[in-house]
Symmetry: C2
Subunit: 135 residues, 2 copies
DNA sequence: CGTCAATAGTTGACTAATCAAATATAACTT
DNA sequence: AAGTTATATTTGATTAGTCAACTATTGACG
């Protein structure tokens, strides 16, 4: 592929990302990043911000800001680690866990073609190509 | 796919987009959006901002701001349309056209696996899946 | 045991997008 | 010809990310 074709591919990637991100937030009420963050806490229990940063592959500043918002909405609780006061230990609230479960149930009954027009096989192909791309 | 799987897919899309966008700018010196914008002008000649907005599928406010920056760098020229003073007619400068061509030549000699580890077939599959996704 | 380096998180400045409101011009309607 | 509506662009506020500079705490070592 020449540069022009690469730029079209990457631009399409940008458009797809924008659209899917918006759709996801409209559908669930959570931004994709905050959804991933909370699901990680729900599935793996409490952890430090550094672990979240590595897991989500975003800047530590972004983590701080997301957590500030989630804390204000009572979706997470943050406490300094007694054994290492530099560290903040983050955990999800029951309230948030319930809301996430509600979201998943809702979605399982909804028409899935609204959020993605791809079939499962295509979605899997897409995921593996995207994964290879960032590797 | 359940919501959790969808969120992982979309999050991977976000990560891929961030990484490719950054790589593209490092490689070429142009942001992907401004590159697309200038290439459109180069390939299609002058046009109004509304046309650019539809072509790039971004907000008109974003178009205005990109053009302001490109104008300051002497990459585009903007003039009000004499026959319809609401409209701004935008065209690319010779200088910009030359720089874009230089970029393309550079890229054609470079190691393409740096910017994308996918082979051509995978790139084409990816493009068609992304296109279907935003359709 | 005191300094110096490393780690963890926060804050500020910047970018690129969105939406909504404002402005300017043109076109339509009576 | 005046008033209203539609079109084109701009500006301001907000969001989510980056990087760089700062603060606080811990650990290491001479």
């Amino acid at each position: 592929m020449n540069l022009r074709q690469i730029s079209k591919l990457f631009y399409q990637l940008k458009l797809a990302n924008q659209e899917m991100t918006t759709k996801f937030e409209k559908e669930t009420g959570f931004s994709i990043t905050r959804y991933e963050l909370m699901m990680f806490l729900k599935e793996n229990g409490q952890c430090s911000q550094t672990i979240l940063q590595n897991e989500l592959k975003i800047d530590s500043a972004a983590v701080t800001r997301h957590l500030k918002i989630l804390e204000e909405k009572n979706y997470v609780i943050r406490e300094r680690n007694k054994n290492n006061n530099r560290e903040v230990v983050v955990r999800i609230t029951d309230n948030a866990a319930k809301e996430l479960e509600h979201c998943e149930r809702e979605f399982s009954h909804s028409n899935k073609t609204i959020i993605s027009p791809l079939n499962e096989e295509e979605e899997n192909t897409l995921l593996s190509l995207l994964t290879k791309l960032v590797k």
